[in-house]
């Protein structure tokens, strides 16, 4: 995907030029917990499926 044909942002906000990568470690930790929950429930029902076959 190419960024070069981008248009200006919808809001004329004045971006602080340099601060690119903000700290999002809290968001990252949250989604990883979410992902673990998805995996655990799926594996749980998968085991039930195999056990019943």
């Amino acid at each position: 995907m190419r960024d070069d044909r981008s248009v200006s942002k919808p809001h004329e906000g004045h971006s602080e030029p340099e601060k690119k990568e903000q700290s999002l470690k809290g968001a990252f930790a949250s989604v990883m917990i979410l992902g673990a929950f998805l995996a655990i429930t799926w594996i749980g029902v998968f085991i039930l499926f195999v056990a019943r076959d």
């Binding site: 942002k9 999002l24 809290g26 992902g35 998805l38």
Partner: protein, 550 residues
């Protein structure tokens, strides 16, 4: 016009929005009464008078909640945001289409409800052939769908006009998402429209003898899965666009929000076979292919989860919170406009986990047509989506009627949200558990001749009934809150449209390339459906005559 300066909402537009919202909640009340009674019958607590059937109530509950409450609320909500962000008022043609759509849908709903309550259409909201309802039931559904199409055309028209007068500008995020939602709806409903108009109406009037059952089910589920995304996307719109403003933060990324909506458009339609995994007439290959496509539609939800947490975290950091989860503390926990949708988001995590399991090809055998599935969509649509819609009401009604949310109503809203979550914990929790034990969905009270397996299910059914009663209290409270909002003190309420974070990257232009997205959507549908559907038509299942088995 995405700026959020205090401006009065157009009163005439407001009437259209209010008309939709009130109709939606009238449907919620009727559907809620039916739902509570069903729960009590199934739990063995009461039996209905002889002239009211359990399945009649179940049909009314499904149609009123899943089709009427949702569609009316969605159209009302989208029109409000389109009016707000695309020029400050609805164009005359848009408003006209909105009202014609409203009346067509209302006539359809009225006919449908009467036919259902007369016991002529106890076929549930999925109306699987060859159970044959009164032809007027199908006509009623067709009117609802056609009405919603006109409302969608109104949104497209306003969007196109805005683009013409604002050449080169990026459209407001709310409007972009509204267009995606309605586009998804228009494409998806083609399937059910063909089923109803070409197959069911001529057959139920007796003009043709038989119906191709397998084809009718395929056409239904072509619509049936994107239907759930039609419910979900407006809730996502609230989460992406409204919630950042309410918490006093910024939208994490406009580009990623648009990208996730595009992915929903592409991948939520060619996936209907995952509702038909356990049935004959479709080969393994095509089932599996659509399972793969179904898993693709999980990706935009994974993106959304990150975006929302990021919005919350950046908001916290801008307010000086520290640590991994310090941002949690500065969220407005006592503001129902945040709290209700937030509970919706949280509950979408188990809801999504269940969805992944449902779509997992052969694993579907564990849960197919059990109460697990009922529990699943009571988390998705009846909690994540419904709570978000409830949360919207607390600012939308004040905005469009020129009133303000009072602290007392805010508090009642908080209580309503908690009641809903507690009721759903009992109801959906029991449904999920007893579903894994094999208890079937869509059944009245039964012990299956005192079979030990079925006896073991009864306590869970009782817990479901208790949950249902708690939820009905929640329905009554939200209805009270709605009426109280309509009589709240006069004042100015701002339409909460979020602004994009200054630090986020600009939005690439290709995201508004509609020709590209529509073409890709069509290509995916063609790949997923052409061969199996041609096979179902050229090599058809022997036709079935109609049956009235209720």
């Amino acid at each position: 016009m995405t700026d959020s300066k205090l401006s009065t909402f157009d009163r005439k537009d407001g009437q259209l929005v209010i008309a939709h919202v009130l109709f939606a909640f009238a449907a919620l009340l009727l559907g809620g009464i039916a739902g509570m009674l069903q729960g009590m019958v199934k739990g063995g607590t009461i039996s209905l008078p002889a002239n009211i059937g359990y399945y009649e109530l179940l049909t009314a509950h499904g149609v009123l909640m899943a089709l009427i409450f949702t569609t009316y609320f969605i159209v009302g909500f989208l029109y409000s945001g389109v009016s707000q962000t695309l020029g400050g008022r609805l164009l005359p043609l848009t408003k006209k289409l909105g009202w014609i759509g409203y009346w067509l849908m209302s006539i359809g709903t009225l006919i449908g409800v009467v036919v259902i309550l007369l016991g002529k259409a106890s076929v549930l909201y999925t109306f699987y052939a060859p159970m044959k309802a009164s032809p007027w039931f199908y006509v009623a559904l067709a009117l609802v769908v056609i009405g919603s199409w006109l409302s969608g055309f109104g949104i497209f028209y306003q969007y196109v006009q805005w683009r013409k007068t604002n050449k080169g500008k990026l459209s407001p995020l709310f409007a972009f998402m509204s267009v995606i939602t309605m586009l998804l709806w228009q494409i998806a409903t083609i399937g059910v429209a063909i089923e109803v108009v070409v197959q069911l109406i001529p057959w139920s009037f007796g003009w043709v003898e038989t119906v191709n059952v397998v084809l009718s089910r395929t056409l239904f589920w072509f619509f049936g899965h994107p239907l759930v995304y039609f419910w979900l996307l407006p809730a996502y719109m609230c989460w992406y666009v409204i919630i950042p403003k309410i918490i006093g933060g910024k939208i994490f990324s406009d580009a990623l929000a648009r990208m996730s909506f595009v992915l929903f458009l592409l991948f939520s339609i060619p996936v209907g076979f995952h509702h038909q995994l356990m049935e004959p007439g479709i080969s393994h290959f095509w089932k599996y292919l659509q399972v793969v496509l179904t898993f693709m539609v999980v990706i935009p939800s994974l993106m959304t989860a990150f975006s929302l947490f990021a919005t919350f975290e950046l908001n916290g950091r801008s307010k000086g919170t520290k640590g991994l989860f310090g941002w949690v503390k500065v969220l407005p926990w006592k503001d129902v406009r945040f709290f209700a949708p937030f509970m919706g988001m949280l509950i979408f995590i188990p809801a999504g986990a269940g969805g992944l399991i449902n779509a997992s090809n052969q694993m579907n055998a564990v849960v197919h047509n059990t109460l697990w599935v009922t529990g699943h969509f009571h988390l998705t649509v009846a909690t994540s989506v419904a709570l978000t819609f409830f949360g919207i009401v607390y600012w939308l009604i004040p905005v469009v009627t020129g009133r303000v949310l009072t602290p007392r109503l805010n508090k009642l809203g908080m209580i309503q949200t908690i009641i809903w979550c507690v009721g759903m914990f009992f109801m959906s929790g029991s449904m999920h558990t007893v579903g894994l034990l094999g208890s079937p969905r869509r059944t009245a009270y039964s012990t299956y001749d005192d079979h030990p397996d079925a006896i073991m299910w009864i306590p869970y059914h009782v817990a479901m009934a208790i949950g249902g009663i708690i939820l009905f209290a929640g329905v009554l409270l939200i209805i009270y809150n709605l009426i109280a909002l309509m009589r709240a003190p006069k004042g100015e309420t701002e339409y909460p449209i979020g602004e994009v974070s200054d630090a986020s990257e600009p939005t690439p232009r290709f995201l508004e390339n509609w020709k590209l997205w529509i073409a890709l959507t069509v290509i995916l549908i063609v790949i997923a459906y052409t061969i199996p559907v041609i096979d179902q038509i050229n090599n058809p299942t022997p036709g079935s005559p109609g049956y009235v088995t209720w």
